[in-house]
């Protein structure tokens, strides 16, 4: 079983985590196509992907850059670096 080496809690087996997938930030402005792209499309290609993991026993969130080809964690990302303001726009229907 793979281990995730996390700040504060150390190395933990991935069975203790929920995988939330690619870190996504809503577009700051959007039309219908841009919004649909945000909702559905993903960076599917192999390579470094920024992802969120939730450690259930501690209730902590982690963000890692992981190479989805080799399964190696490339970097630990500070949550502050992936923050955003909730947008406030209307999409014309």
């Amino acid at each position: 079983m793979k281990l995730l080496d996390c700040p504060v809690i150390g190395k933990r087996p991935i069975s203790e985590f929920d995988y939330l997938g690619e870190v996504r930030v809503p577009p700051s402005q959007a039309d219908e196509l841009v919004w649909a792209d945000y909702v559905f499309n993903r960076k599917g290609a192999p390579g470094v992907l920024r992802e969120r993991w939730y450690h259930r026993p501690t209730g902590r969130w982690f963000v890692f850059d992981r190479d989805t080809l080799t399964d190696e964690i490339v970097a630990v990302v500070d949550a502050a670096d992936v923050r955003y303001e909730e947008p406030r726009y209307e999409i014309p229907a």
Partner: protein, 969 residues
Amino acid sequence: MKYRLDPQPLEWIDRSESMSFDFEGQRFSGFKGDSLTSALLAGGQKLLGRSFKYHRPRSALSLANHDVNALFQSAEATNIRGDVTPVSEGLKLRACNVNGTLANDKDTYIGLLSRFLPVGFYYKAFHKPKKFFPFWERLIREKAGLGEISTQWSAIRQPKQYGFCDLLVIGAGASGMQAALTAADAGADVVLVDENPQIGGSLDYQLVNESDAASARRQLKQRIAEHPGIRVFTGHYACGWYTDHYVPLVGPEGIIKMRAGGVIMATGVMEQPAVFRNNDLPGVMLASGAQRLIARYAVKPGQRAVVLCGNDEGYRAALDMIEAGIEVAAVVDLEWLDKRGHWAEQVKAKGIPVLEQSAIYEAKGKDALKAVVVAPFDGRSCDSGQGKTIRCDLLLMSVGWAPAAQLLYQSGSKLGYDKKLQQILPRELSPGIHACGRLNGAFTLEQRLADGERAAKEAVAQLRGKTVETELTRFRDDRAHSHDWPIIGHPKGKNFVDYDEDLQLKDLINAAKEGFDNIELMKRFSTNGMGPSQGKHANMNGIRVLAEITRKTIDETGSTTARPMFHPVPVSALAGRRFRPERLTPMQAWHTANGAKMMEAGRWLRPEFYGAPAQREQAILQEVQAVRSGLGIIDVSTLGKIEVMGPDAGRLLDVVYTMKMSTIKQGMTRYALMVDDSGVIVDDGIVGRVTDDRFYVSATTSHADAAFRTLSLKIQELGLNVRLVNRTGSLAALNLAGPASRKLLSTLTDVDLSEESFPYLGMREGTLCGYPVRLIRVGFVGELGYEIHMPATAALEIWETLIKAGKPYGIRPFGVEAQRVLRLEKGHIIVGQDTDGLTNPFEANMAWAVPLKSKPWFTGKPSLALLQARCQRRLIGFRLPKGYNGELPKECHLIIENGEMAGRITSIAYSPALGRVIGLAMVDLPLAESASALEVRVDSGAMVTLEPCPTPFYDADGARQTADLTEVA
């Protein structure tokens, strides 16, 4: 036991304890420590099994857990590997895969038909005409498989455990033992694992008669036994290498899941057979197999032997045979004698004839080896015209080795063919992976010890974070120990490449001819290496054959992927102890004591209804009526319960839920609907405001953890100043519902329950039975009612107090089923039942919960804005006529319009309050808006007419939720 030798220096058997067992109806005995195979061979039973396809006679080959043609079964187990399974008293065994008895197998005729069954024959026959295929398939299935199972067997589960170490050394032969010692001396926490019951590896059978090996053996074993830094697991095999050095060790007591900092592979090599006609006859063995048989079990493999040599090791084996009193009729060397070392000289000195540049052209015998035909060999083929027959009952094959590199491959390490050693060797090792010993091309004892030491030093340095130059090649031998073509053609075939699958040389050649000339395609078409030994003695020769046919190098030819398991692993060991976490509310004991039928809701157990299963419908009806007419009480402790606090708490809830939560007045609650980014409904619940900066959220049972996770994710994403506390487990909850609820509760709490000070949807804190509680005026079941959230520790006492005090009002506990009916009467949806994986709030008829205009943002808002105009279906209410007594529609029966599917029923139940069947249906637009009648198809195929009607079905203006009906009446 006519084949039992005098005591051998390192034998595993304990002659003081004998055990007897039955094999094919005959009595045999062996000693403690014997394997089934060794005991049978000692007792003169040479025929041990039948081959998979042709039912040819087979016997022992390797004695190393590769002998899949000697599989036995008992009443308790099947596919028992005789070569490694210890004897035990009273066993009753028979051979697997025989039709009749082992001696008299009625399926041996299949072997005679082999010319009609070329490689891949089943792809080319039986399918025409189509209607006959099931007939042929039945016949084929009858012949398929090896052992028989019994479906009556009970489950065995062996507990597993986790293990940890700095360095895992796999294989306790010379190099592995040395590596373990070197690493442990350097301070590493070492685990040394070996599949055999004793450490020592080939030192103990191949070099058992070598005097210089003896002192090394003694020292290594003694130091390992005494070393505090080494834990030894014998009788365990590493079944696979998994990410981050996670290596399960499978042993007789179960699996130890070892997590290592690094792994030293000292897994050694697997001896490979030579391919020649009848190379499968009982009596034809791997040289190392014969050596194991003698050294470990003191069993004589035969009386008169011929040894086929492609390396020095064959000469060592010949000497060992002589030592064991076996006559060696000849040594047949594939090459010139002068290539060989001192063992060959010793053989020569003993006057044993050595036939150079020769090979076995064919073996002879019906059920066992009687003679071999030796013919001159030019490195590729035999000159069969000059064949010479030598009488023998034992032929040892010592023509080469394949690395036991399965785990090395799994670790992502790269290997390549070394022409000098004629062996596949490690080239590039993955981080934390090390290799040494014969696996790495170190063959002499000195090389193996030095290589073990080297690997250990490198491993320890790497563990400590140092960058090290690996010197993989430093202690490798400079001469071949394998022949590059130990393969002899024969016009009559029966020269097997894969014993498991009965594949002959021509099968591989023909597969390649047909275009399956890629190693993986060849495997899949011919099934080479797909049997229970997973190609342990078939893959290397298969690669050599394909390389030869395609005129490619071994590296260009490549090899098939080595997947776990290294040896097959019992399901009992994999399954392990059965963990089924079950979560109970504090009222569980009361529920069961009062006849609740419990149901599983995720990990929780909840009362479905109270009463005997036979009275199910009646019990549910009575529970519903109790709530409507008097008083009901339901345990809702499984709801998610979350405290949301801090300056940004309102902002958080506004983002997560569709409706505006930041405007809820203190002491009030609001329905809360959660959708995902795409606008699909995922959960509902309520949000209540406790203080200005503090809210209390409830979520559905099944979504409780996910709701908490979503809230905490949004805090992270938006960087909000909010604290969350998940109180799902520390608080219990119940819903006291019915016209008498206020009256009852007022006697037990200090909260002012009057309508003016505690209105519908209000939330109050106070005490109940002296405990701090939170009361919420909820309307899910459609009566005056209070959800009571209380400390889990006090919940049972409060529950029992309410039950007792509620007696005069006819209080009745109700379960999930009654609640479903009650909420249906009110037209409330259940997320996941009335909605599916694509349902949005507009379809669920909840446009009122989607404030697109008044709220600037919430999760999924843009999607809902787009979906509003594109709704394709809608949830509507329907009813059946009063007194309807026809066939009842069920949930998920289809609405049919003009012969086309137009929707489905999502909920349906008999409403005692209305005296008729009511339900909800998801119906396509515009039908949902226009139809005055809907047709639903029921189980019998008949159509039943539903009458669309508005919801709620019951108490549409909600009067009962606010009025204290006992007083009104």
